[in-house]
């Protein structure tokens, strides 16, 4: 693992860019409006924002699941073929109830034609990294909430996708596990040059792992503030004790508070 200086973000090529994206559901709820967002190659980008502000919706649009109602989603190199290489940790575990833990994690490889035998090592390794090797043959209903989420994480990582979209992946995990998985994620991202979009509610977590944080405001959901975390990598537990870290956390927290306040204002003004 090599020490890597933080690149000046704009110097990185853009993978996807959302321009003036809006999403209105048939129920009438406008989840997103005028959302501008660039995802840049090799960065960890965190989305922070109040509950219901459209983070999951934005992530799904990036993944090509559900079209935007308005605006534009442009991929580098044109086309969506790129996204063949996407991993997604949904906010809910989204496991197949009829398949064992092993089979659930095998799924992405299986869909690419990899046999059970060929996938075995990669699947077991992914399960090991989330501490679930002993439960490979269990069914989802036999797992705790956190365990189910870990299966989902293992499934997203098993194919080592170049773009990883994660929707509050660690929210249901204890802090020790969460810390470990944060570190694992950063290590793999650095090693393999992944691009990661990471939705979280934890200001601390977002500062700890991100290159950039976009704070969203709700109703309609849009990018409200951007924060570049210009801290050296690799980061470890020690980073959490630095004044830089604490300062970033304070900034992010303030941005979040005012994003929530602003939204409340908007609605009150209606």
């Amino acid at each position: 693992m090599c020490r890597r200086p933080v690149l000046n973000p704009p110097a990185r090529p853009t993978v996807v860019s959302l321009r003036d994206v809006g999403k209105t559901f048939s129920s009438g709820t406008t989840a997103l409006q005028h959302l501008d967002l660039d995802i840049r190659q090799g960065e960890i980008l965190s989305l922070l924002g109040p509950s219901g502000c459209g983070k999951s919706t934005a992530l799904r649009i990036i993944a090509g699941l559900g079209e935007a109602s308005s605006g534009n989603v442009a991929w580098a190199g044109g086309g969506m073929d790129h996204s063949r290489d996407v991993g997604f940790v949904f906010q809910e575990p989204t496991l197949m109830p009829w398949a064992s833990v092993f089979d659930n994690v095998w799924l992405p490889s299986r869909l690419k034609g990899v046999s059970r035998k060929a996938a075995r090592d990669a699947v077991m390794q992914a399960l090991d990294s989330v501490g679930l090797t002993a439960f490979a043959q269990a069914y989802p209903r036999e797992l705790s909430g956190g365990m189910r989420m870990r299966v989902s994480i293992a499934r997203a990582m098993v194919t080592r996708p170049r773009l990883l979209l994660m929707d509050e992946p660690f929210a249901a995990l204890d802090e020790i596990t969460r810390q470990k998985l944060n570190d694992d994620l950063m290590r793999l991202q650095a090693e393999l040059g992944w691009t990661v979009v990471f939705v979280t509610h934890s200001v601390f977590e977002s500062v700890y792992i991100s290159d950039r944080i976009v704070v969203m405001a709700a109703r309609p959901g849009r990018a409200f503030a951007e924060l570049i975390i210009d801290a050296e990598r690799p980061r470890g537990a020690a980073f959490r004790t630095t004044p830089v870290y604490v300062d970033y956390c304070r900034q992010a927290s303030a941005a979040l508070t005012s994003a929530i306040g602003r939204a409340a204002e908007t609605v009150d003004g209606h």
């Binding site: 809006g22 209105t24 559901f25 048939s26 129920s27 009438g28 709820t29 406008t30 409006q33 109040p50 509950s51 219901g52 919706t57 799904r60 699941l65 559900g66 079209e67 109602s69 308005s70 109703r219 929530i260 939204a263 409340a264 609605v267 009150d268 209606h270």
Partner: protein
């Protein structure tokens, strides 16, 4: 933290629906297909490709509708009435039995075999016995019930047994009575299964009414479509028999559509089978 209701949104771009074919096509294609089918049929008859006289051309059937409406109309009403009455009884009976069986596995094991026996007993065999005891009108309804109740029972029972265990826990936590659990939880969750069973039962009621007419001899002057379908060919009134078959088919399709619409009304807000995908 606060929210906007739908009405608040002024700037709602009207998104083109990703899902489903345009409404026009949705009706046009089935209609076009029907025209092709009828056209082909007419041609085959005209070209003498069908067994002589046995299968009349659509145009002949069409003519028979008007010519024989005096016979067909009352027969149709007769069959429809029996069908609908029997259908309602079958749905009610099927649901009641399903609820009874869902009370406990013991009840289910004890009584389910008899439900199966009722399902597999041919009405042709049973009707003469029933006629000894009951009036013809009653036997007719019993027979339709026998033909149609089982899908409602079987599907509803699966539905009642498929209740989300987490929601069951919730209801038990709040000390819901059995009745509340049934009405507010189990039956709601069973709806998709139940409605599936009801749709199957719709067609079965119709065919049950036709068969039972023959089995109970509810024929003669007051007969229904069954008698016409069965007896008209005897007098070479093939167009009349086919007209009756067309009425039967249209009734079946109408019943199915009505039940599908009901199903849509009850499910489209929440069940995947009726929900539009939006992401």
């Amino acid at each position: 933290m606060s929210a906007i209701s739908s009405a608040d949104d002024a700037v709602t771009p009207s998104a083109p629906s990703r899902q489903g074919p345009p409404a026009l096509l949705k009706w046009l294609l089935p209609f076009a297909f029907l025209v092709v089918v009828l056209g082909l049929w007419e041609y085959c008859v005209a070209a003498g490709l069908t067994p002589m006289k046995v299968v009349p051309a659509p145009s002949e059937i069409w003519a028979a509708f008007f010519r024989e409406w005096e016979t067909l109309g009352p027969a149709w009403l007769f069959t429809l009435e029996v069908t609908l009455k029997g259908f309602v009884l079958a749905v009610a009976g099927g649901v009641c039995l399903a609820i009874l069986f869902s009370l406990s596995r013991l009840v289910e094991y004890t009584l389910y075999p008899y439900a199966i026996i009722l399902q597999v007993t041919p009405v042709l065999a049973l009707a003469p016995l029933l006629l000894v005891i009951f009036s013809q009108a009653t036997v007719l309804l019993i027979c339709v019930w026998l033909v149609a109740f089982f899908p409602v029972l079987a599907n509803t029972l699966i539905g009642l047994r498929s209740t989300d265990h987490n929601l069951l826990n919730l209801f038990e936590l709040y000390r819901a009575s059995s009745w509340q659990k049934l009405w507010l939880l189990r039956l709601r969750g069973a709806l998709p299964y139940f409605l599936g069973g009801v749709r199957i039962a719709g067609g079965l009621s119709l065919i049950g009414a036709v068969v039972s007419e023959l089995a109970t001899g509810a024929g003669g002057a007051r007969g229904g479509l069954g008698y016409i379908i069965y007896l008209a060919p005897r007098y070479f009134a093939y167009p009349r028999a086919y007209a009756a078959l067309v009425l039967l088919s249209l009734s079946g399709i109408a019943i199915f559509l009505a039940l599908s619409y009901l199903s849509h009304l009850l499910l489209h807000k929440w069940h995947e089978s009726a929900l539009k995908r939006e992401n």
